[in-house]
């Protein structure tokens, strides 16, 4: 099933997506008619000033939040008509997440955390596959450790292994390096870049860090809930300049 999905030309497609919070006079449009396509196998960074709607975009694209208007298609499936249950099943199959705070289940070991999505899907986790996933992120020797026994960078790498274990059509990352120091940030970003290069993994990453965005194939700039610009791979300096202009 995942194989047919990866053959889609576009992993995620947003059309005229709107998302407003609150009602009446208090209504705020976080997304104001966003149309974007994320081709399969690309690594996209989403940037923008605070309040530009980048996190809302990520939530809507991932099926975590439902847009007020427009449509979201993930791996060829329109999310609009899906029930909460069906949406959960789709997320389980086609979507992986990496959060800023690593969000591992503290009661489970690294190996159990990675196997969690498989267990939730009712599948018997293939131990070799889980360990291979951990090896991929360089943590083969930490399988039995609990999150409290791992460093921040290691926890985030476990989170990436967990997000990739179902071989999702798209991997979403929300400020994955926000809680990490420069050195470990570089490791994590290198890892994301490598999954895109080696396995053709589609990656969508929200960040406000130009250095992080520089790892992507292209950068989407958001401002006031609209797409301000879409640029191909740039240097960190060029991105920072573009950002400074947006914030001005």
């Amino acid at each position: 099933m995942t194989i047919t999905q990866t053959h889609q030309a576009e992993a995620v497609r947003l059309a005229e997506v709107r998302r407003t919070f609150g009602t009446g006079d208090n209504a705020v449009a976080a997304l104001d008619g966003v149309t974007l396509a994320f081709p399969t196998g690309t690594f996209t960074a989403v940037m923008g000033p605070s309040g530009s709607g980048k996190t809302t975009l990520l939530h809507c694209a991932a099926g975590l939040d439902r847009p007020t208007g427009g449509s979201v298609v993930v791996a060829g499936t329109d999310l609009g008509p899906l029930t909460e249950h069906a949406l959960t099943l789709l997320r389980r199959e086609a979507v992986g997440f990496v959060f800023q705070s690593f969000n591992l289940v503290s009661a489970l070991t690294a190996e159990q955390n990675v196997a969690l999505p498989l267990r939730l899907a009712g599948r018997r986790p293939d131990r070799a596959r889980v360990l291979a996933g951990l090896a991929e992120v360089g943590l083969a020797d930490r399988a039995g450790h609990r999150p409290s026994e791992l460093s921040g960078g290691q926890q985030q790498r476990v989170a990436i292994a967990r997000a990739l274990v179902t071989r999702p059509a798209v991997l979403f990352a929300d400020e994955p390096t926000g809680a990490l120091d420069t050195g470990t940030s570089r490791e994590v970003l290198g890892l994301l870049r490598a999954t895109a290069d080696r396995h053709g993994q589609t990656v969508i990453m929200v960040t406000h860090d130009p250095v992080a965005a520089a790892y992507a194939d292209r950068v989407v700039f958001l401002a006031d809930g609209r797409v301000a610009d879409v640029l191909p791979a740039l240097s960190a300096e060029a991105i920072a300049t573009r950002m400074a202009r947006l914030e001005a």
Partner: protein, 796 residues
């Protein structure tokens, strides 16, 4: 997603649930065992007799008894028909009566009755004539000993002729017949049991009892005691189950709320709401399975000592033994699991409703503390509680307590469910002055209890229950006993009261010893007028001087005279009427009505005491009222006759002393139970809450707060929440008590004072306060031992 892994990791949040469940299951298991062991048993003295016939309705007349005996003796296989001539008799040892004669087993019997147990003769020979007696071996007497036996007539000297292997006093059958005057029971000794033939021979003249049905002949005192015990046990189980569900629900709800991020994360990585619910239920079952196993074990071990305690305090009859079969333990185990799942139900539903985006939110502010289900259930519980409280006054006496208890329970559930709505305005109102002051402690306590409404509600809820129950139960007992005590006017109207000491009632010898003309006494006996049972009292005609509505007491005194009370009967007998009255011995006598009274607390009919004696020689007099004789002199007069004298004003409290002790034990047990339960809930919630606030504390420390300031604000917040819980609990209790007061006033036709023992209620509140402050300050102190910067970096 293994529930066991979660339980291992988050054991703090499960400790409270575990302890509560284990305690609850232990209580249910041991109570169930005691309850089941306390089934009616065939009285030992009749155990060896397969078939017994009991008089139903009016007693057998001598003629009817003779005919019945002949008919039964003619049934093939019947070897003997033994009339149970039972009469009041008590051995006097060293001037004091010993033993516990009861209504159904008055200790004195004809010798042939010893064959019904059977109690074989151990030593000596059977009694044959007046003054001869066979006693139980336990009396420690040997044949030839001279003893005094107290009977309804007074002390009688006897010589022991033999001993039997069983309790009781046995005299020659003819002597017993004279003492008893009546036969309530026939024992049938048969070679083989032919029940249809015996039933045919009885022909509706009595009730044929065989097999387990013979347990209906159990001593009233034994069954009465057991009934009290059963009520206590049922109340304890009810309270235990209610509190357990309550505590499990509130701790689970709180723990779940603390784990919203975790559930959101699981939802984000692909868990369906159903999987989340199943996980929470799984945890509940995991904790429940372990806790119930521990509880069942503890319950099985605790049941026999509990039975012993219940015997010691008088809730179960002596000789009570707790049996421990396996199936009640299985029931208790299943109850434990069910309670765990029930308690986790709302938490599970709530956890399933957590959205995946929750994992990404940082703040722990309660955005939506009130769900629709909470509004609905809270509203329904409020209405139910209000309806019950309003309906309480109309209830009968026994239902009064139950209804008020249920009303209070419903209101407590309502308060708890609506706490997120009820508590913030109360907090704002109470702490408004604090916010005006410059001190950080008050402001912090106020704001944090307002922000985390659910935490505040979780801590207040058990306090509401504890204080509510304590005030309700204490108030019920105080109000009811004071209401009834103020009624006891007949004793207060007299200088002294002569009451039994070590005996079930006063003998004629006591009454005879009292100064004539200065005493009054009523000797009750059951009579039947046109087939209906009435209470008649034998009195001394010379001393009987109540106000009459018609007729004259001057004519009262001849054996065939009767004074009646003109009740609400359609056609009350009038003066000069002839009234056929059937007495305890089954004889029917036509009495002449000489006077009619308006009302009387003592009886419905009054006859000369000699008339009572002629038909019911074993009747005892409960009390005698005496005026104009010094108390010391009175005591000396009745000494050695199984009686003593007290002042009239002291009497009421004295007579209910045993009841008071029972009630006090009962109340203490219930309050101890509910305080214990809710204590666990308060402590557990606070420990969980405080552990989850380490980061808050760190921020306070980093902002320049001293350790003392942080601890003071934590203590202030706990104290404030306990205060609010106590106030709401008292409100619930007072609402329920007002219903009780109205009901009592209606029943007694007099105003009743609402009494709440504030001292004890205050102690309960103080206990909650100490517990809450301790359970929040200690974990906070532990958390603050680490350096603030390290704390701030802590992650969940």
């Amino acid at each position: 997603m293994s529930p066991l892994a979660t339980i291992r990791q988050r054991w703090v949040s499960f400790v409270g649930t575990f302890v509560t469940l284990a305690l609850g299951v232990a209580l249910v298991a041991s109570t169930l065992l005691v309850f089941l062991s306390a089934t009616p048993a065939v009285p030992e003295r009749l155990a060896g007799t397969a078939v017994l016939v009991r008089a139903g309705g009016t007693p057998w007349s001598p003629d009817a008894l003779r005919d019945l005996t002949v008919r039964l003796a003619a049934v093939p296989g019947v070897t003997a028909v033994v009339p149970d001539h039972a009469f009041y008799a008590q051995l006097v040892v060293g001037g004091h009566p010993v033993g516990r004669p009861g209504v159904r087993d008055p200790q004195g019997h004809g010798w042939s009755v010893a064959g019904l147990a059977p109690y074989p003769l151990l030593d000596g020979r059977a009694p044959e004539r007046d003054g001869e007696l066979v006693v139980g071996r336990s009396a420690g007497l040997a044949p030839g000993a001279a003893v005094t036996v107290l009977t309804a007539a007074g002390p009688v000297p006897y010589t022991v002729t033999g001993t039997v292997d069983g309790p009781g006093l046995y005299v020659a059958d003819a002597v017993a017949a004279r003492h008893a005057g009546r036969v309530p029971l026939l024992g049938i000794r048969t070679a083989h049991v032919d029940l249809p033939a015996i039933t045919a021979a009885v022909a509706g003249a009595g009730e044929v009892l065989s097999g387990d049905a013979r347990s209906a002949l159990e001593d009233d005192a034994v069954s009465g005691t057991r009934e009290i015990g059963e009520q206590v046990l049922v109340a304890m189980v009810l309270l235990a189950v209610f509190s357990t569900v309550f505590v499990v629900a509130s701790t689970f709800a709180f723990a779940t709320n603390q784990r919203r991020r975790e559930f959101g994360l699981l939802r984000a990585v692909g868990a369906t709401p159903r999987q989340i619910r199943r996980a929470v239920y799984g945890e509940a079952l995991g904790v429940g399975a372990l806790a119930a196993a521990v509880g069942v074990l503890v319950g099985a071990l605790a049941a026999p000592p509990l039975g012993t305690v219940l015997v010691d305090v008088g809730f179960e009859p002596p000789g009570f033994v707790t049996r421990v079969p396996a199936w009640p333990l299985g029931v208790a185990y299943v109850v434990g699991l069910a309670v765990a799942v029930l308690g986790a139900g709302s938490a599970a539903r709530r956890a399933g409703a957590v959205g995946p985006v929750e994992a990404l939110r940082e703040a722990t502010v309660d955005t939506r503390p009130m769900t629709r289900a909470r509004w609905l259930c809270g509203g329904a519980a409020t209405v139910l509680g209000a309806v019950l409280a309003v309906a309480t006054p109309a209830a009968e006496n026994e239902d009064l307590m139950l209804l008020s208890m249920l009303a209070a329970m419903a209101l407590m559930v309502a308060m708890t469910l609506l706490a997120p709505v009820v508590i913030p305005p109360v907090v704002r109102a109470l702490t408004w002055p604090l916010g005006r002051l410059a001190g950080a402690t008050g402001t912090l306590a106020r704001e944090s209890s307002l922000t985390a409404v659910r935490r505040t509600a979780s801590i207040a809820a058990p306090v509401i229950v504890t204080v509510g129950f304590a005030a309700l139960i204490l108030g019920q007992v105080a109000t009811v006993s004071s209401a009834y005590r103020s009624r006891g006017t007949s004793a207060v109207a007299h200088e002294s009261v002569v009451r039994p000491e070590g005996t079930p009632g006063l003998s004629d010898a006591v009454l005879a010893a009292l100064p004539a003309g200065r005493s009054s006494a009523y000797t009750p006996t059951e009579v039947y007028v046109s087939g209906r049972s009435r209470v008649a009292a034998g009195v001394d005609p010379a001393a009987f001087r109540p106000a009459t509505s018609s007729g004259s007491l001057a004519d009262f005194g001849a054996p065939d005279t009767v004074v009646v009370v003109g009740g609400p009967d359609a056609a009350p007998p009038g003066v000069g009427d002839r009234l056929p009255v059937t007495f305890a011995d089954g004889r029917t006598v036509t009495l002449r009505v000489v006077a009619v009274l308006d009302s009387s607390d003592e009886a419905e009919l009054f006859v000369p005491r000699a008339t009572v004696r002629a038909h019911d020689p074993s009747a005892l007099t409960p009390l005698a009222y005496v005026d104009g004789v010094p108390l010391a002199e009175l005591r000396a007069t009745v000494a050695g006759l199984g009686a003593t004298a007290v002042r009239g004003v002291d009497y009421e409290s004295d007579s209910s002393a045993r009841d008071d002790v029972l009630v006090r034990i009962f109340v203490l047990a219930l309050i101890g139970l509910s305080v214990g339960y809710t204590g666990i809930a308060v402590a557990n919630t606070l420990v969980m809450a405080t552990a989850g606030r380490r980061r808050d504390f760190a921020v306070l420390r980093l902002s320049g707060g001293t350790v003392g300031q942080v601890l003071r604000s934590v203590a202030a917040e706990s104290a404030m929440v306990v205060g609010i819980g106590a106030a709401l609990g008292l409100a619930v209790a007072v609402a329920a008590l007002l219903g009780v007061r109205a009901g009592l006033a209606q029943a007694l036709g007099a105003p009743v004072a609402l009494l709440v023992p504030w001292g004890t209620v205050g102690a309960v509140v103080a206990g909650c306060l100490a517990l809450a402050v301790g359970a929040s300050v200690l974990p906070a102190r532990l958390a603050l031992r680490r350096r603030a910067v390290a704390l701030a970096g802590d992650r969940e």
